[in-house]
Symmetry: C2
Subunit: 199 residues, 2 copies
């Protein structure tokens, strides 16, 4: 081995990044040292400021450095719609669709085997948010995985007597997908959810 | 868009990393904020310490936080051999082969179109290093690219009258390679460099 202690320390630290193994960490460390020290120092500062400054929105529980995030404060959004997702990245994904209601961000999904029950993922805060709001529909947009389905089902049951429409995002063929390549469960959902063609 | 300013700043800053696009930067930022804030702060500190503390070895010009690196100071290495490479990562690669001589690290290769002549890549320092040393052989281990070959050829000419053996790393088939997949130039080199089989 021939890297000096500070370079070794940097290589080790870079492995905190998802998907970065030893080889990529080495290349990245030397690239930054040889080509972009000012960019690397900017990254160090951005990491520190974000890790120390970003918390969670009190209302929707997404990542935010303000007590209440800009999405929750935006007066132009539809206060009758609430979309429930598993994480902050999902908010970004749903935003891309043009959705303009409100959000609530769970801390992932129910996972009894990992000891993650309703409290751990923020269900009490969700119920409080719903009671404080004036929603007419709650859209359960947890992931279409076994755990995401179970989480959606659990929450739908809790909301059964609140006089709300509770909906679930649709399953079906992804756009551009091919029947022979998609898994059987997805195709079964696509068939069961078929709709008349209006000409 | 729904990320707060500090998160946006972090996403932008992460794009300084080679191979990291917008999507990966977003995922990485949220992963660090949600899963590993202490690791991210460790990375920030390692970046700062390395960018501010690491310079270049006065003797071999590799990256080092000491004036003279541990490789140059190691008394067990062979002072008669000097291996010339294009960058610090190449030192690491050659070390893996079991080579135990000394090194000199150029700043890349000659690139006249980019205005990179002998001074820019450290040739004067290389000649000084050779004059100060007691080398019997200089191994030119620049990359087997057009620029790397030209750089090796240029340096070999400069060293012609110094009473040194000047050698170039061999070209040929990579181990595990297949004849039908390797490029014609490589195969031509492999044929021209053929050696008798000793049984
Ligand atoms: Zn919010
Ligand atoms: Zn050195």
């Amino acid at each position: 081995m021939s890297f000096s202690p500070l370079i070794r320390q940097l290589i080790d630290a870079l492995r905190v990044l998802p998907g970065v193994g030893q080889k990529t960490a080495q290349r990245t460390a030397l690239h930054l040292l040889e080509r972009d020290r000012s960019g690397a120092l900017r990254l160090a500062q951005a990491l520190t400021q974000a890790m120390e400054g970003v918390g969670y929105c009190q209302r929707c529980r997404t990542l935010s450095e303000e007590d209440v995030c800009s999405l929750c404060l935006d007066p132009r959004r539809d206060d009758s719609l609430l979309c429930i997702v598993e994480g902050p990245m999902d908010v970004y994904a749903v935003e891309q669709t043009g959705y303009r209601g409100r959000y609530f961000v769970l801390k992932g999904h129910l996972s009894p085997l990992d000891g993650l029950g309703p409290e751990a993922i923020g269900v009490p805060e969700l119920l409080k948010r719903i009671d404080e709001g004036a929603f007419s529909e709650v859209i359960l947009a947890t992931n279409p995985t076994v755990e995401g389905e179970a989480t959606a089902h659990y929450i739908a049951q809790l909301l059964a007597n609140k006089g709300l429409v509770t909906s679930r995002i649709a399953h079906g063929m992804p756009l551009g997908g091919e029947l022979e390549l998609v898994d059987g469960g997805t195709l079964a959902h696509a068939l069961a959810g078929r709709r008349p063609i209006s000409l």
